[in-house]
């Protein structure tokens, strides 16, 4: 790993120069909205944990499903060609909507690669909504015990399914807010889970996306919205994206990132899925 061939000074350490080339070759998963991709530095990063939070109805699940579809965009069309694990803790996943979003993604691919229908039949088979749905491994979780169990089990599952490139938990909050009475214990359990997820993302080179809910908090003399699960949890994720309403538009705000400045971008949720908002710029929507 060390470019000079010298034995490493510290076992397990990697020098920053090598890390730079790793970071540059890191793959991103497009969110469907060029604006959000830009503030994220290309898209959702693999090998990192990204938290996405927002008020009810703003589009968290929509974005989660969009990412589960977009991770599967074949390599020849600029995507990762990977599969998705979707952990649904609230029953918000609607399979008909996932089908619609897959159709939307395929129609955008065909628009940008108009000659793809001339490709071989195996290439054609990949561009069917059913194929995209087959690439989402769906877990329905009904308690925090099951949530802990599935995150623990992921290690084995990912070892057996090496083509998974994104794990989405929708939402990480629900059961921990509902059923966990001992808040101090909750904090410790959550931090254990976030460490595990971080390790998994690095070990298997995949993106981990955690959807979170909002709550109100008394700060600076008034009640404000903030993401749920407390202050300690807010340290756990590498990146944080907050979805909110700004006037009549949906906006995404990059609240936390190791390398990018805070920034916000408008986006829209259309029949085809998450896309750029029409008013932001006149440019045509690019999924890739």
């Amino acid at each position: 790993m060390a470019s000079s061939g010298d034995p490493p000074l510290l076992a397990g350490a990697q020098n920053a120069w090598d890390m730079l080339s790793d970071e540059q070759s890191q793959k991103h998963i497009t969110t469907g909205s060029g604006g959000i991709n830009n503030i994220l530095g290309g898209g959702i990063h693999c090998k990192e944990v990204t938290e996405i939070g927002g008020v009810p109805g703003v589009g968290k699940t929509q974005l989660g499903i969009q990412l589960a579809i977009n991770v599967q965009i074949p390599v020849e069309y600029g995507g990762l060609g990977g599969k998705a694990v979707y952990i649904d803790t609230e029953g918000s996943f609607m399979v008909e909507r996932a089908y619609q979003i897959a159709e939307g993604c395929i129609s955008d691919i065909l628009e940008h690669f108009p000659h793809s229908h001339e490709k071989t039949s195996s290439g054609q088979g990949k561009l069917q909504p059913e194929h995209f749905l087959a690439g989402i491994y769906y877990f329905r979780i009904c308690s925090y015990t099951e949530q802990i169990a599935v995150i623990n089990y992921l290690e084995k599952f990912l070892g057996e399914h090496k083509d998974v490139r994104i794990v989405i938990i929708d939402s990480v909050t629900f059961h921990f807010r509902q059923d966990f009475d001992d808040l101090a214990l909750r904090t410790r359990v959550l931090s254990g889970l976030s460490l595990k997820l971080m390790k998994l993302s690095k070990a298997y080179n995949l993106a981990v996306v955690l959807l979170n809910q909002v709550t109100t908090k008394f700060t600076e003399g008034s009640f404000q919205l903030t993401l749920a699960l407390g202050d300690s949890w807010s340290h756990s994720c590498t990146n944080r994206l907050i979805l909110y309403w700004n006037g009549n538009e949906r906006y995404a705000y990059l609240d936390k990132s190791p390398s990018l400045p805070v920034a916000s971008s408008p986006y829209a949720v259309t029949g085809k899925g998450v896309r750029d908002s029409v008013s932001s710029n006149g440019k045509r929507v690019r999924v890739m």
Binding site: Y138, R188, G247
Partner: protein, 364 residues
């Protein structure tokens, strides 16, 4: 799954004995502890604790399905997974109607028509399939004594005259609707618990709670000062799980209250001096749904009933299948009817706000 006993998990003997000896009898016991604490309880090393956690997790984890398998399963179960409301515009916006297996909320100011809507839904679920119904029983939990049998039959006679003219059909339909009137939250909770088995045995096709918010007022004001736990959180989980496991629609009505200072509206990065101007007008005209933001996150579909500009509207405020859209409606002898099937698009703050411009007789 969480209460799955460790003894049934077929763990390697040394682990099974260790867990039993330390009184960790269910999956929940083992998995609720962080690794380090588990090590302490078991008085064992890290590898042992990890092995125990890995084994228990694998067993306690529910099986996974591909989304394609989910789609095929839904197709096999048939029925399109919806209860059509017969309000054409609304059904179209919702992808066919009220979804099965999910929690749908109907929220709005008092007197606007929520109960009328529920009465019609109850009727529709009871109707035979050839008339677009679910041909099943309905459980109607009425916490405010608003259920009117006479009104429901009037709705039936006016909406489906050809059906209701048939001899004895009115009685048969009404007989399928079971009304419960819990007098306290404990009562409600007990009825729900008993219901899980009953639902499957007795072919119940719809569960309505009218209204959910009233249950919090039925509760005595026990001192849970400082606790931010929602009093209805158990009911919330339970209703969601009933909906999913029985594959039935669960519809819940919610009330409104005026905004208070406790309602946060902005994130810290948004607070930008634009507050003061908006504050005053906001408090005057806007209402919010009772039951709070945790509840709002948990429902899958939210239908807001509101009134403004001289009309009443049903607004699809939260739906995974469609953008926000509002339909003007009125309440007739046949129940709720849409004045237009062309929805009006709703964007921005109008989606979540609830407006009520009532006729204030005292203001004249």
């Amino acid at each position: 799954m969480a209460n799955r006993p460790v003894s049934e998990m077929r763990l390697p003997p040394h682990l099974a004995h260790l867990l039993a000896a330390r009184r960790l009898t269910t999956a929940k016991d083992v998995l609720s502890l962080p690794e380090v604490e588990l090590m302490a309880v078991l008085d064992a090393g890290l590898p042992t604790a990890r092995a125990a956690v890995a084994h228990v997790s694998e067993v306690a984890c529910p099986p996974c399905q591909t989304a394609l398998a989910l789609l095929e399963e839904r197709a096999r179960l048939g029925g399109g997974g919806r209860l059509a409301t017969t309000l054409v515009g609304l059904d179209e916006a919702l992808g066919g109607g009220i979804p099965l297996g999910k929690l749908t909320e109907v929220v709005g100011p008092s007197g606007i028509g929520k109960t009328q809507f529920c009465l019609k839904l109850a009727l529709l679920a009871a109707l035979p399939e050839c008339y677009g119904g679910l041909n099943g029983r309905v459980v109607y939990i009425d916490t405010e004594s608003k259920f009117s049998s006479r009104r429901m039959i009037e709705i039936g006679q006016n909406s489906f005259p050809q059906i209701f003219r048939q001899e004895g059909l009115a009685q048969k339909m009404a007989g399928r609707i079971l009304v419960m009137r819990p007098t306290s939250l404990a009562d409600f909770t007990k009825s729900l618990e008993q219901m899980k088995v009953t639902l499957l045995q007795h072919d119940v096709k719809l569960l309505l709670v009218d209204s959910m918010a009233a249950l919090t007022s039925l509760e005595n004001e026990k001192a849970t000062a400082g606790s931010r736990q929602h009093p209805l959180r158990w009911a919330l989980s339970f209703l969601k799980s009933i909906a999913e496991f029985s594959r039935i629609p669960v519809v819940v009505t919610n009330q409104v209250r005026s905004q208070s200072n406790d309602d946060g509206h902005h994130f810290s990065f948004e607070v930008d001096g634009k507050d003061d101007a908006n504050c005053a007008e906001r408090f005057d005209s806007h209402l919010v749904a009772a039951l709070g933001v945790q509840w709002a996150h948990a429902v899958t579909i939210r239908l807001v009933f509101e009134s403004h500009s001289g009309h009443r509207f049903i607004k699809v405020a939260k739906s995974p299948m469609s953008p926000a859209v509002a339909f003007p409606f009125s309440v007739e002898s046949s129940g709720i009817t849409l004045l237009s099937d062309e929805g009006i698009d709703v964007t921005g703050p109008d989606i979540t706000s609830i407006r009520c411009q009532g006729q204030n007789i005292l203001a004249r």
